[in-house]
Amino acid sequence: MAQSFPEDVLVHVFSFLNCDKDRNAVSLVCKSWYDIERSSRRRIFIGNCYAVSPEILIRRFPDVRAVELKGKPHFADFNLVPEGWGGYVYPWVVSMARAYPWLEEIKLKRMVVTDESLELISKSFKNFKVLVLLSCEGFTTDGLAYIAANCRNLRELDLGESEVEDLSGHWLSHFPDNCTSLVSLNISCLVSEVSFSALERLVARSPNLKTLRLNRAVPLEKLPNLLYCAPQLVELGTGVYFAEIQSDIFSNLAEAFLGCKQLKGLSGFWDVVPAYLPAMYSVCSRITSLNLSYATAQNPDLVHFVSQCSNLQRLWVLDYIEDTGLEALAASCKDLQELRVFPSDPYDAEGNVTLTEQGLVAVSEGCPKLQSVLYFCRQMSNAALVTIARNRPNMIRFRLCIIEPRAPDYLTLEPLDTGFGAIVENCKELRRLSMSGLLTDRVFEYIGTHAKKLEMLSIAFAGNSDLGLHHVLSGCESLRKLEIRDCPFGDKALLANATKLETMRSLWMSSCSVSFGACKLLGQKMPRLNVEVINERGPPDSGPESCPVEKLYVYRTIAGPRVDMPGFVWTMDEHVSSRLSRATE
């Protein structure tokens, strides 16, 4: 019946399938659908750039317009992945330059991007529109100059939180005068000053500009100029929010904000002077997203400002907000969906702010739509976690970071097993969980039993034995990413659940007890996994087989072992022994 469909009708039906999962399902239905789907697929998401090669991608999908790639594992954000590990985008750009001349979008996360890559991108794709570089590194402002100069139809340039070598601010001036297509510009990670007049002219000639995130170097006094050029802005990242207290600066600012009727999101706020916060009051009631994670403002200014934003859906804030601020938040922001509270001084054991578990409990009680939490604090109790779990069964992402490793329930001195157990038991839709504090194997038993929708789990300084890891690997059916550090997990659970690893994207284990022998066995027996040992102190076979490896990264792949590994990374496959013995000669 469906066979009598002309192909273009089927393509039309598929075009309404938005998520990758559905397109993947469609491609597995039968031969003809596989073929139709692959030739009509325009957007590709590759969660691990080493799971597949550019050649395989191009062979299967001949006409792709948007590619999203992720490189280093998530724990790279905590400096656990050594410099030079990998994640180079250049080979991808070279292949795609040949195969996809109509490519429009490249989105990268945690990848190494060179100026060469940026130049090649700018010159190879005539219709290039979107470049997003999140947490990337390896390029300089010279590379950005190529993008600015050559991408005639550029709509989006987002540098995320990348590390850019700032050679000069002149790159912005490379946008040609006839470039009017910008919709989104995020340069917040850049350090050096860009030419303000060039920026102003660029903003003024971009009538479609919706998102503008400035870097710290843009002075507050000049912000009104930009706002007047772009009253249609929906998302604004201020530059430094500091200036001497002068009434005309304030009034200029307030008037400029008054004109921004579409503004929904705010960020920036470096070195914030609380006296200037009220200048934004006119837009507060429309704000749905507020990122104050760089704002060193304290209460009462801070909480007063946040409470003005009654339609707030997403708040990122420092722990200066304290419990009192969170209680006020719970009372005034009933639409809140996502809360992230970052530590103002993570290395201070005592902490000088009164941010405890009470703040989070208050928000969980007062905000019925709360579904995503990232919370840094210094004390937690099982009772609080149980309360939070009961309040918010709709929780989807729950990441709790108690700053001191292995901190017990501060009231009872017991492990926090019960608390996290309540979270996984009540929050049946939980997709992401990060745990901290004192945790035994029991919490993993709860997780294995209840967390059936869990996709990503982060564990540190937890557990007693392999049974903990075994519970997770055997119980969490939806698990895709597992990252573990400093836990007493060894070989048994890993080897017993070897086949599970092929159903996941990746597994990271650092400072655990997995032996070199087990890694070798795993690598040899599972050809569709890349088992990579990271040992900076020397080759893993310099000690006995039973010696634990420093770091282990296992991921499924159809591209075979990597060829771009640095000296401290070894792939465990059938050739590993001969490679190692050669290397040590």
Partner: protein
């Protein structure tokens, strides 16, 4: 919804003019008399479907379809003798539906909300008809209707597994295992693994049954450690002894491992891995089910461990490393699934096992063969706890 069907008008016996009004409206716009006059005044076109039947339709409705519009412009359709031949994908019921659609939408007076509401009701039909309608609308080049039905079909597809989609659209399962594996899969929903799990869950139950009949003494060891040890026995030499008892070597290892749980793994000799355990695989099943039942009753949980154990059991018990489809046909498990469904699942499982045999034996053999090479294990220790250095060439493939 009321439907007034009037015949006559223009003298044609085949014309079908339908006036429909919602029961919410208070009055029917035309009386029958007016209807006849209207019909005489309006222009009509004649359409012929591939089965030969001819339909007379108001022109203003029919020309909503670009195909018909073009045909009229080239001169056909103005009389019964020269009807417009519609493409073969348009059969009479589909034509009727399409004309209903056109009839509503060609009226300029409707608001967007009304149109949207009509559309939502219009596409509520079974998937087969939806497909036919999409196909027919496409051949008549009626883009808005193609969009509407395509979106509806996309909603049918959303969230479904490949098997479900295959079933709904009656499509053949003609991709090979290799082709299925090759795609860039970001999905966790590997149908192969799911079927495997089901297969193993049933096998496990069977073993449990067998176990109850046997006379095996239960070990009262620390249950936690025992089960994990057991799980690994296949890797490190699980074909040791088939009796019920575990060796004292095993017990010693467990205790040693417990002691070292809390210390930092800097001292390499304290690292415990790979017990060259000779524990009974049959024993495992009982222990396993006792321990794991307390952890979780979900067969899916068990089945992630069991793939390895079940293979071992197969291998050891029958001396035959391959899955024999016959094994599963003999399963008589009380699953509280209704018999018809159970039969279907059994068939599916048996069929899957057959396909598995043709694809996986090499890989399975590799995994299984480690268990058979007790003397050449890479991780085995001698009694003193020091480990032998691994030599890659010793490992038999």
């Amino acid at each position: 919804m009321g439907l007034l069907v009037g015949g006559g008008g223009g003298g044609s016996m085949h014309s079908m003019v339908a006036l429909a009004w919602d029961s919410g409206d208070d009055v029917c716009v035309h009386g029958v008399g007016m209807l006849v006059i209207d019909q005489m005044l309006k222009a009509h076109v004649w359409l012929q479907t591939s089965d030969g039947s001819i339909l007379q339709v108001e022109q203003e409705v029919a020309i909503f379809c670009p195909f018909i519009c073009h045909e009229i412009q080239s001169g056909t359709g103005s009389s019964k003798c020269y009807p417009i031949s519609l493409p073969s994908r348009v059969n009479p019921p589909m034509l009727s539906l399409i004309l209903d659609y056109c009839r509503f939408h060609q009226v300029p007076g409707h608001s967007n909300k009304e149109r949207k509401s009509f559309d939502e009701r219009f596409v509520r039909m079974d998937t087969k008809r939806l497909c036919e309608l999409t196909s027919a609308a496409d051949s008549l080049e009626l883009k808005p209707l193609v969009d509407l039905t395509s979106r509806a079909l996309a909603r049918v597809i959303e969230g479904k597994t490949p098997e479900e989609i295959r079933e709904i659209f009656h499509l053949p399962d003609d991709l090979t295992e290799e082709e299925k594996l090759e795609p860039i899969k970001n999905t966790m929903d590997d149908p192969r693994i799911r079927l495997l799990n089901r297969l193993y869950a049933r096998k496990r139950k069977e073993l449990k049954e067998r176990e109850r009949l046997k006379n095996v003494e239960a070990e009262a060891e620390r249950v936690d450690d025992r089960s994990v040890d057991d799980l690994l026995s296949y890797i490190n030499g699980g074909n040791g002894d088939f009796k019920g008892t575990t060796t004292s070597k095993n017990k010693k290892k467990n205790r040693r491992r417990k002691d070292h749980q809390k210390t930092a793994p800097l001292n390499c000799t304290s690292c415990s891995n790979g017990t060259s355990s000779s524990s009974n695989s049959v024993d495992i099943s009982k222990k396993e089910s006792n321990e794991m039942d307390s952890v979780c009753n979900n067969p899916m949980v068990h089945s992630n461990i069991w793939p390895n154990l079940v293979n071992t059991t197969e291998f050891l018990d029958s001396g035959n490393a391959r899955f024999a489809p016959e094994e599963f046909d003999d399963c008589d498990l009380d699953d509280d699934i209704d018999p018809a469904l159970k039969e279907e699942i059994d068939r599916e499982v048996a069929d899957f096992a057959r396909r598995l045999n043709s694809d996986w034996p090499e890989r399975l053999q590799e995994i299984l063969s480690v268990g058979s090479d007790k003397n050449q294990l890479p991780l085995s220790r001698n009694e003193n706890g020091t480990s032998r250095r691994f030599r890659g060439d010793q490992l038999q493939k």
